[in-house]
Amino acid sequence: MARIVGGFGISHTPSMGLEYDKGLAQGFSPRWQKWYDGTRGVKAWLERAAPDRMIIVYNDHLNHFDFSAYPTMAIGVAPEFRQADEGWGLRPFPSLVGDVDLGWHLTEKLVRGGYDLTVCQDLAVDHGIYSWLPYLMDLPWTIPVVPVAINMVRHPIPTSERLHQFGKDIRRAIDSFPGEDRIVVVGTGGMSHQISGARFGIANETLDHYFLEKLKDETEELVAIPQEELMRLGGTEAAELAIWFSMRGALSDKVKEVHRYYTFPAITGCGVVVYEEPA
């Protein structure tokens, strides 16, 4: 039986990706050097965890989908996922390797289990994944992934309860996936931030630390916070924290927290927390 060996929640921002490219070429700015250093432990953990496959719950930023049809929840099932051009051209990275077998298995179990997922056999992936992935994985990227895109760009967005339950149902689906594969589940969304309106740049580090502190053992308490409250206190895009609940839901009550880091480089709270299942 395949099993989930761990997972992590991590922020994403366009600048995280662009600063990585600059950082490698000419050295990181002090603000981003911290994030680079802070993610070394996650990279080391991921190498030790040695997943055969990864499920990544993220959000698109109108880079693949547009409002002619914007899915509330979508799953990518394809041999590869190309990088989306977000308006400033492509970064020097290859496509992601897609996991067709796990993708169809999850689609079968989750759709039959009550999730009306949009299935994407062609999906361009944006900074939701491309911004943090280079920090954690050297090239070539060989671990096949199943991306799951959650609408966070136009309200209404899925509830925190729904996304938490979605994670639990991912776990159930993995239980029936044949083979002995090791699977890592990722949930990625910005922490506190707001990138439009006069509240642009709001930075509630207190809220972000509180979230990281409670996510493992007091998940239900966090899930019960109205998304409006998260947006009011942490900026409208803090609603993306709800995506982290899918990661948490996919893991057991027995996980150990093995790494945590947080900094606020510029516009977005950048945090990461890693949970590991007992062997």
Binding site: E86, V153, F200, I202, A203, R232
Partner: protein, 125 residues
């Protein structure tokens, strides 16, 4: 505007992107997203107004884009992520949009970010 940040979701602090906003700004957002294609970026830069007329924008929307009136564009229902692509195409970035929204110069906004606040959900310490 000062650096004080209200804990509410009302304009001009926040423009929550609702269905109604998406309907109002449908064409504006569609136009912004068309600039994901490098060939479209090139065509747009050659003659901005002509490109936008072809995209079905009205005169007011065209005026807002030509004026780089990012706040007006967001009020008109242009989605931030789509307006960001317009900004990128004309050599601006998120900071320009943010500064316009916050009523500041870019340098000033960059200097005061992160704009630290501290608050927890009700009843939490």
């Amino acid at each position: 505007m000062s650096n004080s940040i209200p804990f509410n979701l009302d304009p001009p602090g926040t423009y929550l992107y609702t269905g109604q906003m998406a309907t109002k700004g449908f064409k504006l957002t569609r136009f912004g997203l068309s600039l994901r294609d490098p060939a479209n970026r090139e065509r747009f830069l050659k003659d901005e107004a002509a490109y936008m007329r072809e995209a079905g924008l009205n005169e007011e929307e065209i005026r807002l884009v030509l004026a780089r009136d990012w706040t007006g564009l967001i009020e008109a229902g242009g989605h931030l992520q789509a307006m960001l692509k317009v900004a990128a195409t004309v050599g601006q970035n998120l900071w320009h949009i943010g500064a316009h929204n916050a009523g500041m110069e870019v340098e000033e906004l960059m200097r005061i970010c992160p704009r630290t606040v501290s608050a927890l959900p009700e009843g939490e310490k």
